[in-house]
């Protein structure tokens, strides 16, 4: 089932999951999942609601402890690393994060320096530099003194991305960074993420809902279904009508975008009542 179609030469793995099992109380959400993230790549995790993509991302970031298996950061078991060390290597932007509304953009982004803080937690020269740099990259420098509650949705998301950037980590994980944004701001955020990858070589893993955006901005798509990897590889190879039918229960046509040839999925009907559904238990509640 799992197709591995990376046609690039093998490169260094910075983040890996080995035989990862994750569960909330009794329910096992992820049964034995393994994956490797190569340095300097953009990987998109996609899948239907409840497929476990957010859970995988949080486990990779050590926000959730797996019940079995392990996550490796640069070859070392992440659970055994000091918290601060992890925070200097890996930043995660959670889904719909919240902060006190009176906080200003500058005050928010400043917190990104916490894992780098020296004695007395005073900001040093390099911290001020990193903060300004992060604000500049996220195009938030001019909004530095604005309060979070005075920002638009897109600006607020850029402020949070700036926080993650101020953390100066080589790895950046993002959980649905485009939720609640209109299409223009979605593209703006994704373009910013793409630049961070291209210019700074950051390794990026992001959970996305929109398959077409995943196809456009990620070099690799991992499709999750009921906690398992059902497809993994280049967008143009793995995005097929069969996959969409199996995972999302939709009938769809895949075309290439007339402007740049990127694959585009065009769903046109649900397949819920289709008699030729190849998996009778594929509603996501299958937890065996």
């Amino acid at each position: 089932m799992k197709q591995h179609t990376d046609d690039q030469p093998p490169s260094k793995t910075v983040l890996a999951a080995q035989a990862l099992s994750v569960g909330y109380s009794e329910r096992l959400v992820i049964p034995e999942l393994s994956l490797e993230i190569a340095i300097g790549t953009i990987t998109a995790l996609v899948g239907p609601n409840g497929s476990g993509k957010s859970t995988v991302l949080k486990t990779l970031a050590r926000l959730i402890a797996p019940s079995a298996g392990a996550v490796y950061l640069d070859g070392r078991a992440i659970a055994s690393l000091p918290t601060r060390e992890v925070a200097r290597q890996l930043a995660i932007l959670p889904q719909a994060p919240t902060a006190p509304e009176e906080l200003t953009v500058g005050e928010l982004v400043e917190q990104g320096r916490y894992p780098h803080a020296g004695p007395l937690r005073m900001l040093r020269e390099q911290d001020h530099h990193a903060i300004t740099e992060a604000l500049t990259q996220a195009n938030m420098l001019e909004l530095r003194d604005r309060r979070l509650d005075s920002l638009s949705g897109g600006e607020r998301q850029r402020a949070w991305i700036a926080l993650a950037l101020a953390q100066s980590t080589p790895i950046l994980l993002l959980d649905e960074p485009t939720t609640f944004l209109d299409v223009g701001h979605q593209l703006e955020i994704l373009t910013l993420i793409q630049q961070l990858n291209r210019i700074q070589g950051k390794t990026i893993v992001l959970v996305l809902h929109d398959l077409n955006q995943a196809a456009r901005f990620a070099g690799r798509i991992i499709v999750l279904h009921a906690g398992r990897v059902v497809a993994d590889g280049l967008p143009r190879v793995i995005l097929t009508p069969e996959l969409l039918a199996e995972v999302f229960q939709v009938k769809a046509t895949i075309i290439n975008h007339p402007v740049d040839g990127v694959p585009v999925c065009l769903p046109y009907a649900t397949e819920a009542n289709s008699p030729d559904d190849n998996q009778s238990v594929s509603d996501g509640s299958n937890s065996s």
């Binding site: 926000l63 006190p100 009176e102 200003t104 803080a117």
Partner: protein, 335 residues
């Protein structure tokens, strides 16, 4: 706008606030059954020659009360600011640590059942109340603990435990009604009759707990970004929340032990402070202290001036004035 100015001229703001506090302190000392002019108060405070009776009134009777108001106000203000951050709830107040009702319960128990002569409102009572407050805080924390702590569960448990402790207080008071007279002022929260003895019980705790809370400001800043972001930044959220909770309970318990269960101050002071300096805990914590001191000093001054010769307890006055003021804040919140 105010917030931006406050951030830029923060040291100036603090200096000005300290000046205002000094003026409030002088006014507080000046007001009473024997009025003394503010100029005389200042002279007495700086050891300039004044009449002997005036010196005695200023130094022995009124200054300790003013200083207690100053410290207790700061402690309630800081405790409230800390709790609003760890509970991620703008309505959190020191009462929710369980420390207030724990203190009151222990004090009432002590007065009702304590051993003979010792069980009088004297220097021992505040220590008993302090122990009760810390036990109340520990109860809230333990009952909210399920492998890790959670802000919402902490709030709900705090409300619940406080309610249980309060009903226990009511039952004891009903069974031993002769105690009511002794603890009534203290149940409401009052500065009446407080002198150096009580100040000497309060200030060591203030000296320990206030700086402890202030040094936690940068941790609180990370914590208020939420559990996931805080963990991503390398902060142990559970441990930080526990430490901050303990500091807040300590502040509340020791303040309540001396001045009684003054409500609303711990809710009001951080709210006002937040409007001026914003949510950055490094500015919010110190400024909440100053605002708390200012409110308690001013409220006690006004109450004394208005309700001579029978002084209404400042706790009652604060609750009376606090409710409409808080309503105003809530209304203004969403224009």
């Amino acid at each position: 706008m105010i917030q931006r100015l406050a951030a830029r001229y923060y040291s100036l703001l603090i200096l000005l606030s300290l000046l205002v506090l000094f003026v409030l302190l002088v006014l507080h000392v000046a007001v009473g059954s024997v009025p003394i002019s503010p100029a005389t108060v200042v002279a007495a405070l700086f050891n300039q020659p004044v009449e002997t009776y005036q010196r005695i009134i200023v130094w022995d009777l009124r200054l300790p009360r003013a200083l207690i108001a100053l410290l207790a106000g700061a402690m309630f203000g800081l405790a409230g600011a800390i709790l609003q951050i760890i509970m991620r709830n703008p309505l959190a107040e020191p009462e929710m640590t369980g420390a207030t009702s724990g203190s009151v319960l222990f004090a009432v128990l002590w007065l009702a059942q304590g051993p003979g002569q010792l069980a009088q409102p004297g220097p021992i009572l505040p220590f008993v109340a302090l122990i009760g407050g810390l036990i109340g805080g520990a109860l809230v924390y333990l009952f909210s603990w399920r492998g890790h702590n959670d802000p919402v569960r902490l709030v709900l448990t705090g409300v619940l435990i406080s309610a249980v402790l309060r009903s226990a207080i009511s039952i004891i008071l009903l069974l031993r009604q002769e105690v009511i007279g002794t603890v009534l002022l203290w149940l409401i929260g009052s500065l009446n009759g407080l002198v150096w003895d009580q100040l000497n019980i309060l200030w060591p705790w203030a000296v320990i707990a206030l700086p402890l809370g202030l040094t936690c400001a940068s941790l609180a800043n990370v914590l208020q970004l939420g559990e996931a972001s805080a963990s991503s930044l390398g902060l142990n959220a559970t441990w930080t929340r526990l430490s901050l909770f303990f500091v807040a309970a300590l502040l509340t318990a020791s303040a309540v032990a001396v001045v009684g269960g003054i409500t609303f101050l711990g809710l009001l002071a951080p709210h006002l402070a937040r409007r001026v300096v914003g949510a950055d805990a490094r500015r919010l914590f110190p400024f909440s202290m100053l605002v708390g001191s200012g409110i308690l000093l001013a409220a006690d001054t006004v109450t004394q001036a208005v309700t001579q010769p029978v002084t209404v307890p400042v706790g009652a006055a604060l609750a009376l004035l606090g409710v409409p003021f808080f309503l105003y804040l809530v209304w203004r919140r969403n224009p």
